[in-house]
């Protein structure tokens, strides 16, 4: 059992582990603010607000001092090492399952991506443990198509591979990777903020993989 944090041990910018109240999920965060009744904790989460820089993505949650002292929050100085490992197929499936529930992707879209990605990944030797960031997507699709030729309808194969390709692209884009066939563009919003959007290269006519400035 982790040692609960006392009020007098807490400080702003302290790294903590905690249980989120709604669903009992274990989280890691940093104390953002302390008020009279409890602590506000910033939970970094790269899945949120993908137009922001990765360091600014996340959300705030709050725990009362009574909750923390009863065991809901403890000191956790460093991030668990498993969060720094290369992303695997399981991470990608977890991301799209989250996106479906959090409604950052349309339900039917996320469902199709999950089904396509799971089917194609299970065909690989490493299965769901396959590393995604170094994966040659087109080679995998070609192998999947060849292996299923004659056993699955061509339209089914096309559906699975198309969903798999989009699932990988969306997942890598969310993690800040360059996605083949896209360009990054910085645009200025009406309120003056600058955001980066990822657009298909075909729509901009720009060379693939380049970063463009603001459009006139």
């Amino acid at each position: 059992m982790m040692t609960p944090l006392r009020r007098e041990e807490m400080s702003v910018a302290m790294h903590v582990g905690l249980y989120e109240g709604g669903e009992g999920e274990r989280l890691h965060g940093v104390i953002d603010r302390l008020d009279r009744y409890g602590a506000h904790i910033w939970i970094p989460d790269e899945r949120y607000s993908t137009t922001l820089p990765k360091s600014e993505r996340g959300f705030l949650t709050r725990l009362s001092y009574e909750q923390a002292e009863s065991g809901a929050m403890w000191s956790e100085p460093v991030l668990p090492e498993e969060l720094d490992r290369p992303a695997t197929g399981r991470d990608m499936l977890a991301y799209w399952a989250w996106a479906r529930e959090a409604k950052t992707a349309a339900h039917a879209t996320a469902k199709a991506y999950l089904q396509g990605a799971r089917t194609v990944l299970n065909h690989l030797p490493a299965g769901l443990d396959t590393e995604i960031e170094t994966l040659d997507v087109e080679a995998v699709i070609a192998a999947f198509t060849a292996a299923n030729h004659g056993t699955r309808a061509p339209s089914t194969i096309a559906q699975y591979t198309s969903s798999f390709r989009k699932a990988v692209a969306g997942f890598l884009s969310q993690r800040g990777h360059e996605v083949p066939g896209t360009v990054r563009r910085r645009i200025t919003l009406p309120d003056g903020r600058e955001v980066t959007v990822i657009a298909p290269a075909a729509e901009t006519g720009a060379p693939v993989g380049t970063e463009q400035g603001e459009a006139p």
Binding site: E69, S70, A72, W74
Partner: protein, 133 residues
């Protein structure tokens, strides 16, 4: 209100404990206060609550936590599930998740707070003596 701790007897299947308060301390193991309900029988209190279901099996204690759904009466959300917990420490394992849930009241008894209370009393007595002399 009934007290429940790791030393309490676990009832037959079909009973669920409606958690009201989690009591923790710097020195003693945690315990819960709440009420037992059988077969999904709802209490008169219509408020949402966190429910604990326990089963004493050969491999240890199985524990499930459910929370009432805020909008749908009778529906519950699964919060945590543990199997094969040691009989004497199952509540220590579940206490952090219980403490985090907003439906539960937490009462932590800290040695430091007790000292603070006595300090406050001493200051009040001193202030009274100064004011009335």
């Amino acid at each position: 209100m009934t007290a429940l701790d790791a030393a309490s007897a676990i009832p037959e299947p079909g009973w669920a404990f409606r958690i009201h308060t989690l009591h923790t301390s710097d020195t003693c193991p945690p315990h819960l206060t709440g009420t037992w309900h059988h077969g999904g029988q709802q209490p008169e209190d219509p408020g949402c609550a966190l429910w604990l279901i326990l089963a004493d099996r050969a491999g240890g204690i199985d524990l499930a936590l459910f929370a009432d759904h805020e909008q749908i009466p009778g529906a519950v959300t699964p919060i945590a599930l543990h199997t094969g917990l040691p009989p004497d420490t199952w509540l220590e394992v579940a206490a952090p998740v219980i403490a985090a849930h907003p439906y539960v009241t937490c009462e932590h008894t800290s040695a430091l707070k007790r000292r603070r209370r006595s300090d406050r009393a001493a200051r009040a007595i001193l202030a009274y003596l100064i004011a009335h002399n």
